[in-house]
């Protein structure tokens, strides 16, 4: 059993009688689901309208250094006197953009590799499967670190690095699904009627793997957000934008913990945690929706 499955089983906390519920019902059926939707909605809103809400320029420095929360600065100020609240709002955009963009790259790659290796088999499968295995074994964060430090950091580089290193799990799952799909009667029938491989893949195989790809991709959004934060924390983030990871790096290197500046340390980390938690719960609820067997566990 994979860790994803285990957490998934946990997210399915309310047993339900009907299995053919709509996705909306699945998400709204549990308190965890409602919480997750609300949190994700809030952060997407902040990512879009954050700079309109922000009371201050997140980069603005002032003499008011490491000041505790006040009516002027709700979350206090940073070591350069910038407004922590405004920086947290700016960080929401980076996390949402990197998280979703990297997950889309990962989904496209994973789906393509899974479809090709599962459908064609033979040497295509052997080579792609070896590649997948290799990506599954290599420790991901060190690989991302190596790639990010060899390239000059920017948001695009971060998105590419995270997307290119996190597709193997999706590939594995899609491949397994395609292996069973290609033996099914409706595929045989299409082939007997003279349909080509491209047509079968597009109209019969791909649509049947989409729900699976989708559920897995939601989970990868969470992984991508954590990865971006970790890379930024290690100084490999985009130097021109403020992310929650960069904030934690600045807080730590400027000595905020020893200055007891809890207002600088708590908000960025808490935002990462709550957003990742919400997205992970949504992913597990989707997966549970696809695989009702998991509902029995909760």
């Amino acid at each position: 059993m994979s860790p994803e499955q285990a957490v998934l089983e946990v997210a399915a906390d309310t047993p339900v009688a009907v299995s053919d519920r709509s996705v909306r019902d699945v998400l709204l059926a549990t308190r965890r689901g409602k919480f997750a939707l609300a949190v994700l909605g809030l952060f997407i809103f902040l990512a879009i309208f954050g700079d309109a809400i922000a009371p201050d320029d997140p980069d603005a420095s002032s003499l008011d250094v490491l000041a505790a929360p006040s009516s002027d600065h709700w979350f206090g100020t940073t070591e350069t006197g910038a407004d922590v609240f405004s920086q947290v709002l700016a960080g929401a955009r980076v996390s949402i953009v990197v998280g979703f963009a990297a997950a889309i790259i990962s989904a496209v790659l994973g789906a393509a590799v899974g479809l090709l290796s599962g459908y064609f088999g033979g040497w295509t499968d052997r080579i792609l499967d070896a590649l997948e295995n290799w990506f599954l074994v290599i420790p991901t964060l060190p690989l991302m670190i190596v790639l990010a430090s060899l390239l000059d950091p920017s948001l695009t580089v971060l998105i590419l690095v995270i997307g290119l290193t996190s597709w193997a799990g999706t590939g594995r799952i899609v491949r397994a699904q395609v292996l069973t799909l290609r033996e099914r009667a409706f595929v045989e029938r299409a082939r007997a009627l003279g349909a080509g491989d491209g047509y079968i893949l597009k109209t019969h195989i791909l649509p049947n793997t989409v729900p699976l790809i989708f559920a897995n991709t939601v989970l990868i959004v969470a992984v991508a957000i954590l990865s971006e934060a970790a890379l930024a924390f290690l100084g490999l983030g985009d130097p021109t934008s403020i992310s929650w990871g960069t904030m934690l790096e600045n807080a730590f290197t400027s000595g905020a913990p020893s200055a007891e500046a809890w207002w600088y340390v708590i908000p960025p980390g808490l935002c990462i945690t709550v957003l990742v938690l919400a997205i992970a719960i949504l992913g597990y609820l989707f997966e549970e929706h696809i695989n009702p067997r998991l509902q029995e566990q909760g």
Binding site: M1, P3, Q5, A6, V7, E9, V10, D13, A130, N133, W134, V137, I138, P139, T140, L141, P142, L143, I145, V146, L147, S149, L150, L151, A222, L226, A229, A230, F233, L234, G235, L236, G245, L248, A251, F252, P257, S258, E260, W262, V265, I266, P268, G269, I272, T273, V274, V276, L277, A280, I281, Q297
Partner: protein, 322 residues
């Protein structure tokens, strides 16, 4: 244990290792052309760069470079650190025991606590204690480990200064005996180990809980209960041993994540292991060191997977029967 099965697993691990070594070469030589890094050195004339290229063997054709690299790597020659001018292998050898100490203690604690908490929650399924354990582990599962580390420093090293916030021993102290030194190291270990344990605990708990829930619904548990055996004995003697299996493999598969956590946690606590070594290498763009630690991390994960396979073989008779 069947020898052929073991030989197959070892061979597969060696092939993966070979791929990792080859990939490492292309990653650093082809993607990051070392001459661009050399050119970043201030005041370097074209002649100096040429000389450096010759020193590093970069004037040879790529096949010759590859042969050199393979030969060096297989004889543990991982190059020279650009920062300290020490051989990379020496730096890794100094750092490795500290990482093993931190990661080993953290993994052990997380496994034991996670297993215990998992059994606790699964036997109270749906009750308040279960829900609370679940929420707690979902939270620690989502929280970045370095953030937890910073909060531990803030609370237990600054606000209530009970534990040291960094490094492995108190600097500048002459210890009267080896156990006084060990005690000092243990004190310095508390916070980083706590961060590591919290990072892993959520995962291990969730696996143990769901595996335990599975086992408790199986027929043999009902049969055991029907024989009149007390509930706690059914749990302890029959359910727990069966439910532990997935946790064993997971600890090994999770080694990759542990390695990632070691980088950030060691950085926070100035713990002199491979993670901090990597962090310094990132900051100084010290690519030979980064290449070396990346190789060691990969070897660690491959090795952990191999051990997990062997453990599974020993523990699960069903695998042996196949």
């Amino acid at each position: 244990m069947s020898g052929r099965w073991l030989a197959g697993k070892v061979a597969a691990a060696l092939v993966t290792l070979l791929f990792v070594i080859i990939f490492n070469f292309f990653l650093f030589r082809v993607m990051g052309d070392p001459t661009t890094q050399l050119a970043r050195l201030p005041n370097s004339s074209p002649e100096e760069i040429e000389k450096l290229r010759a020193d590093y063997g970069l004037d040879k054709p790529i096949t010759g470079q590859f042969a050199d690299y393979m030969g060096d790597t297989l004889t543990f020659d991982l190059g020279i650190s650009q920062r300290s001018r020490e051989p990379v292998w020496e730096e890794i050898k100094d750092a490795l025991p500290w990482t093993l100490l931190l990661v080993g203690t953290g993994t052990l604690l997380a496994t034991v606590l996670g297993a215990w908490l998992g059994v606790f929650a699964a036997t109270r399924r749906g009750k308040k204690a279960d829900t609370r354990s679940l929420n707690f582990s979902l939270f620690t599962y989502s929280a970045p480990e370095y953030w937890i580390g910073i909060i531990l420093i803030l609370v237990l090293a600054v606000w209530i200064p009970v534990f040291p916030a960094g490094q492995q021993v108190t600097p500048g102290v002459e210890f009267s005996s080896w156990w006084a030194e060990a005690l000092d190291v243990a004190e310095h270990m508390v916070l980083p180990v706590a961060a590591m344990t919290l990072m892993l605990l959520g995962q291990y708990f969730l696996i143990m809980r769901s595996s335990m829930v599975d086992v408790l619904t199986e027929d043999f548990i009902t049969v055991k209960r029907a024989t009149g055996l007390p509930w706690y004995r059914v749990v302890r003697k029959h359910a727990v041993p069966n439910a532990l299996l997935p946790l064993v493999t997971l600890s090994a598969i999770y080694f990759g994540a542990v390695v990632g956590g070691a980088i950030t946690i060691e950085t926070i606590f100035s713990w002199p292991g491979l993670g901090e070594l990597s962090f310094e290498a990132i900051n100084d763009k010290d690519f030979p060191v980064l290449q070396g630690t990346f190789l060691i991390f990969s070897v660690g994960v491959i090795f952990a997977n191999l051990i997990a396979d062997c453990l599974y073989f020993v523990l699960d008779p069903r695998v042996q029967a196949k």
